[in-house]
Amino acid sequence: MTFMEKSSWVVLVVALPTLLVYVALILPQVLGKPMAEISWVQPMAFAIVGFVVANVLGNVVAAVSNPSEADREDQRDREIGHYGARFGSWLVIAGSCSALVLAMTGADHFWIANALFLGGIAGSILSAVTKIAAYRGSFQAW
């Protein structure tokens, strides 16, 4: 497995629990509390920082486990990287556009921040899944 594929697995393994834990913390509040009482800033900040830190640590572990592969990236890695990023960016754009519309319509900060957060993390997951599928299956750039 190349370092880039391991890196995609790290994103997936980190992003899925991050998303699930965040949703598990926020959803009960959304369903049971008035908007003003929802405590979302701290869980979201922890989720974002945790996601970034866990990703860095995961990549360090992947690099240390096979140092000779860590700095090796070839044409196929770059093509798969672009391919995955293109898919992931659609969800990031969708999240950003949703946040824009919510801001224009005067929605609560909670919804604007969550549209951006969910778009970003869902984009990371889709990008990682697409890259892993390309590494595991057949990938033709042209």
């Binding site: 190349t2 594929e5 196929r76 890695d77 391919y83 057949s138 990938f139 033709q140």
Partner: protein, 74 residues
Amino acid sequence: MVKPTRVTNSIRSLRFANGEMTQAELADRVGVTRQTIIAIEQGKYSPTLEMAFRIARVFRVPLDEAFQYADEPA
């Protein structure tokens, strides 16, 4: 983007004809990862023209001896 390719190759037989060169050795000489050589050999990835030339050059054969492009089915 992910579609079957009609590009086939003789890398495996060329490796064996060249002193049973390992995939890792070929990868080092071409400057790619071993996984990329495996993917090319298995027809799961079509290399760029430049990479194809580099592979053919390692075996000192013309490009079309290392890579073939099948005719379209009638």
